[in-house]
């Protein structure tokens, strides 16, 4: 039994000691958002936030998450109240087969939490662990930029909110 906070609510999951977090999430937690892709931290499909830090759930021991906060794509928002990133992915139509999106969205959420106006290069770097076989990369990057513009600037903002604007314009034709 391992206990942690999952998408803001406490859970106690019955998993064997050797289980990975991905097993716990896709098994007893009943989630499908975290995806199994490679099992070796090489594709990013299983990415979740562990205490706010993007982490590959496929190799992370479930036990090591005890007492910590896990956020999956399901925890970012809902159909009725989507996270600004989810709204932006809809607006930019940033996704095709969609298998990579769960992981990409949580990595992007972590990026925007620490850098509310990331430059394009910062977005590419943050998404570097993520493979997208459909080649949606550029629309995904535009969606992250759109979400950054849409999100209210935090009071302790550490950079000018307009940092990314030039990149947005440059990307517009791609």
């Amino acid at each position: 039994m391992v206990q942690f906070s999952l998408n803001g609510a406490p859970v106690a999951l019955d998993v064997p000691p050797e289980a990975s977090l991905l097993q716990a999430l896709r098994g007893p937690a009943g989630l499908s958002g975290p995806r199994f892709g490679c099992g070796t931290e090489r594709c990013g499909s299983c990415m979740v936030l562990l205490d706010g830090v993007p982490s590959c759930a496929c190799t992370l021991a479930a036990e090591s998450c005890a007492g910590r906060a896990v956020v999956t794509v399901e925890g970012l928002g809902t159909r009725e109240a989507p996270h600004p990133l989810q709204a932006a992915f809809l607006a930019e139509q940033a996704g095709q087969c969609g298998y990579c999106l769960s992981g990409i969205l949580v990595s992007a959420a972590a990026l925007l939490a620490r850098d509310p106006a990331p430059a394009e290069e910062a977005i590419r770097a943050a998404l570097d662990p993520h493979l997208c076989r459909c080649g949606s990369h550029n629309r995904i990057i535009r969606a992250v930029q759109r979400a950054a513009r849409a999100m209210p600037a935090p009071s302790d903002s550490h950079g000018p909110a307009a940092t990314g604007t030039g990149d947005v314009n440059r990307m517009a034709g791609s």
Binding site: G27, T72, Q86, Q96, C97, G98, Y99, L127, G135, S174
Partner: protein, 739 residues
């Protein structure tokens, strides 16, 4: 599972399946229509119409809340077919596409709407062009029934009844009803055969960038793929495949210990594999990895390698050839040439590397019938084989086709590359539902790879350096001949080996494509754009070599050769215009890099494509800055989806050009995960600009055509930059240096 049989096909095959199909290019239509398309469909110059086009009840369910459930013949795997299909139907039904809920239809004759109602599959970039007229008729028929139902309810003539999206109106009495309120009554009416189609000038939905229906579920984690499927009481299976194809499990050293591992239910020997069943997949996987398996035999020889296969093809190149396509007199043309240029090209095995690992869930019902849930591109074909394996009639097998986490040709019937035979065997063995998932490693071991291929090219140039004769000799074996031989138009020539070498638009007087059949022991499959994925690289790179030999600019050289092909010349000019005007370079870019550009044409899947790439070098590695792609699919349904598909196709083409290669050594694929089989990462994704040219030609495909122009455009740009001609992919193998 070597007993998998091929799906039955109409006698005489289906002409030109992978190349053009349907209406194809002007001038070869009679060949393409050899399998009995209705004359009416031919005459109306549009895609063909199925006799199931009025089977409204089989396809559409209008719910009381006004949402419209479409059972589509096609499976959604990211290509956007659910949305564009809804658009076509919504246009004629007069509905909002956003009200559609689209699912892939079960196996059934009423969904076999392709090639004269003989088959259906999702592939070959066929879906939209194969269903366009059928879906329009379907929507128009459903609308006519709703209008009739409203007229009856109101007691007014149908001529006075109109529609607005989702509603039926009677203006004279200011009455209206939602489709959902009329659906039940409409469904009881006789189905009209004569519902007329709109004039294209009235289109409200077709041609618009309608938002995709599937992005919301995919961006909230709610989307369910095959790997997410479940059944009460199911066991989960993990597989260990034999390292070499055709090996069988001989010994299980520690079977008792593995059986005793937590959660393990049982251990099973399967053809070419061992399976462990457990309560959870992860436990099954741990257990199967702990098994000490001794393997024996093997159809793939121990000394087999990619290099040995390529050497085999080279040795076979001089052997007996079939003429795949010819015009003029090749040898006479060569004799009259001022100069002869020859080159050899090759391309490697490729993995599909779709992000969703393959799976299959088999559930036998109490009455012995079977439910199968799995990623697949061809439900009836899967059903037929599944029924044989299960000892059932096809009607006793229900095929469920969930969203695909990418496919790119991965999910056809590929013998040892299919999961479902394992699921059926295991479910039968244990008398419980079984879900099998292949780990990424097991997927890399048993994918049906894009074939390794080798082509010799020879051209005769006149005194001005223009080609008067050109011969391509393609050596190898293709997935069509291997897995779907009944689809071959000419049984002696595997179109999935020669397409991309044939049907070129260039005005070369003497032109011949030869095919030398040479088997390869590796399992091979359709990979996005099939033989175009390598042949357009071969041909368009060679054409660039000819231009360089002639001292001509490659773009101008092509334009000269396209003098008799205005559609292609227009398209190549459009690509140049999109890129800000053609310039080959090398030139100095604003950021201090030295860059150059290459161009290429391709004629895949009924569409025409012109591609320009801009590259530089960094630390000996190719950096692609920008791809410009002009595509002429004749006519389109959704410009946003077409552009997304072209970008997607270009990205996979670039990935293959730069990075991808499945290498066999000692009979085994060397890469078993993404660490050793890199695909294009975000950092190497260039800008991709797309221009859609609607020439009004018969509708072509859009899912694959963006792929094949990219490798030659990039390689030609590299040649412009470095003077080095790349004749073997991927580029990552080459040592490149700036001039």
């Amino acid at each position: 599972m070597n007993s998998i049989t091929r799906p039955s096909l109409p006698p005489g095959g289906i002409a030109n399946l992978s190349r053009r199909g349907l209406l194809g290019a002007a001038g070869i239509g009679t060949l393409l229509l050899g399998f009995g398309l209705p004359t009416a469909a031919r005459a109306q110059k549009g895609p063909p119409m199925s006799r199931h086009a009025t089977a409204v009840a089989a396809y559409l369910q209008i719910r009381p809340d006004g949402t419209i459930r479409l059972l589509s013949p096609f499976v959604e795997g990211g290509q956007g077919i659910a949305t564009s299909s809804a658009q076509i139907i919504a246009e004629e039904l007069d509905a909002d596409p956003a009200q559609f809920v689209v699912e892939c239809a079960p196996a059934g004759a009423e969904y076999q709407i392709m090639f004269g109602d003989q088959v259906r599959f999702t592939g070959g970039s066929f879906s939209t062009r194969a269903s366009y007229t059928t879906f329009r008729k379907l929507g128009a028929t459903a609308r006519a029934m709703l209008v009739q139902a409203a007229a009856q309810r109101w007691g007014v003539p149908t001529a006075e009844v109109t529609t607005s999206p989702g509603r039926v109106l009677h203006a004279a009495s200011s009455r209206s009803l939602g489709y959902g309120e009329l659906a039940e009554a409409a469904a009881k009416l006789p189905v009209p055969a004569d519902a007329s189609l709109k004039d294209a000038a009235q289109f409200r939905v077709i041609g618009k960038p309608t938002p995709r229906l599937d992005v919301r579920a995919k961006s909230t984690g709610a989307a369910k793929y095959g790997i997410d499927s479940a059944a009460p009481g199911m066991l989960q299976a993990a597989i260990a495949h034999a390292p070499r194809l055709g090996q069988e499990p001989a010994t299980l050293g520690n079977e008792a210990a593995v059986r005793a591992m937590p959660g393990v239910h049982s251990v099973h020997r399967l053809p070419g594999a061992v399976a462990v069943l457990a309560d959870r997949w992860w436990r099954a996987r741990q257990a199967v990895e702990a098994l000490e398996i001794g393997w024996t035999g093997g159809t793939l020889p121990e000394d087999f390698s990619s290099a040995s296969q390529l050497a085999g093809f080279k040795a076979a190149a001089g052997g007996a050839a079939q003429v795949a396509e010819t015009r003029g007199d090749l040898e006479a043309g060569m004799r009259g040439a001022a100069k002869v240029v020859e080159a050899e090209y090759d391309a490697p095995y490729l993995a599909h590397a779709q992000l969703e690992p393959p799976s299959a869930l088999a559930v036998f019902a109490a009455d012995g019938t079977l439910d199968l849930t799995m990623p697949n591109q061809a439900p009836e074909m899967y059903r037929e084989v599944a029924a044989k394996l299960a000892g059932l009639q096809p009607g006793q097998v229900r095929i469920h086709s969930p969203l695909l986490g990418g496919f790119f040709g991965r999910h056809f019937l590929y013998d040892t590359a299919n999961v479902f035979p394992q699921a059926i065997a295991l479910a039968k063995a244990v008398g419980r539902p079984v879900k099998v998932i292949w780990s990424r490693e097991e997927e890399f071991r048993r994918d049906a790879y894009r074939p390794l291929s080798y082509t010799k090219l020879r051209a005769g140039l006149d005194a001005q350096g223009m080609p008067v004769a050109l011969q391509a000799v393609a050596v190898g074996e293709g997935p069509l001949g291997r897995h779907m031989a009944g689809f071959l138009a000419n049984p002696k020539v595997d179109d999935s080996v020669v397409e991309g070498l044939t049907e070129k638009p260039y005005g070369i007087a003497h032109h011949r494509v030869d095919y030398v059949h040479s088997k390869q022991p590796v399992n091979i499959g359709f990979w996005r754009s099939v033989a175009h994925s390598m042949n357009d690289f071969f041909y368009e790179s060679f054409l660039d070599e000819l231009a360089v030999t002639a001292g001509r600019d490659p773009f101008e050289y092509r334009m000269a050769l396209l003098a008799g092909s205005p559609r292609h010349a227009t398209l190549l000019k459009a690509a140049a215009e999109l890129s800000g005007g053609w310039q080959r370079g090398p030139y100095d870019a604003a950021d201090g890099t030295k860059r150059a550009r290459g161009c290429a044409m391709a004629s895949p899947f009924g569409s025409e494509v012109a591609t320009i790439a801009e590259v530089s070098l960094k630390d000996g590695e190719v950096v692609v800055h920008h791809l410009w792609v002009a595509i002429d699919p004749g006519q389109i349904v959704n410009p946003a989806i077409v552009a997304a598909q072209v970008r997607s196709a270009a990205a996979i083409g670039l990935s293959s050009a730069l990075l991808e290669e499945v290498v066999f050594e000692k009979g085994e694929p060397q890469a078993l995960n993404f660490d050793a089989y890199p695909i294009l990462p975000p950092a190497r994704m260039p800008q991709i600009s797309v221009r859609i040219v609607e020439s009004g030609a018969p509708m072509g495909g859009v899912g694959e055509p963006g792929t094949p122009g990219v490798p030659p455009a990039v390689a030609n740009a590299v040649a412009a930059l470095t003077g080095q001609r790349i004749r073997s992919l991927p580029l990552a193998k080459a040592r490149l240096g700036t001039t």
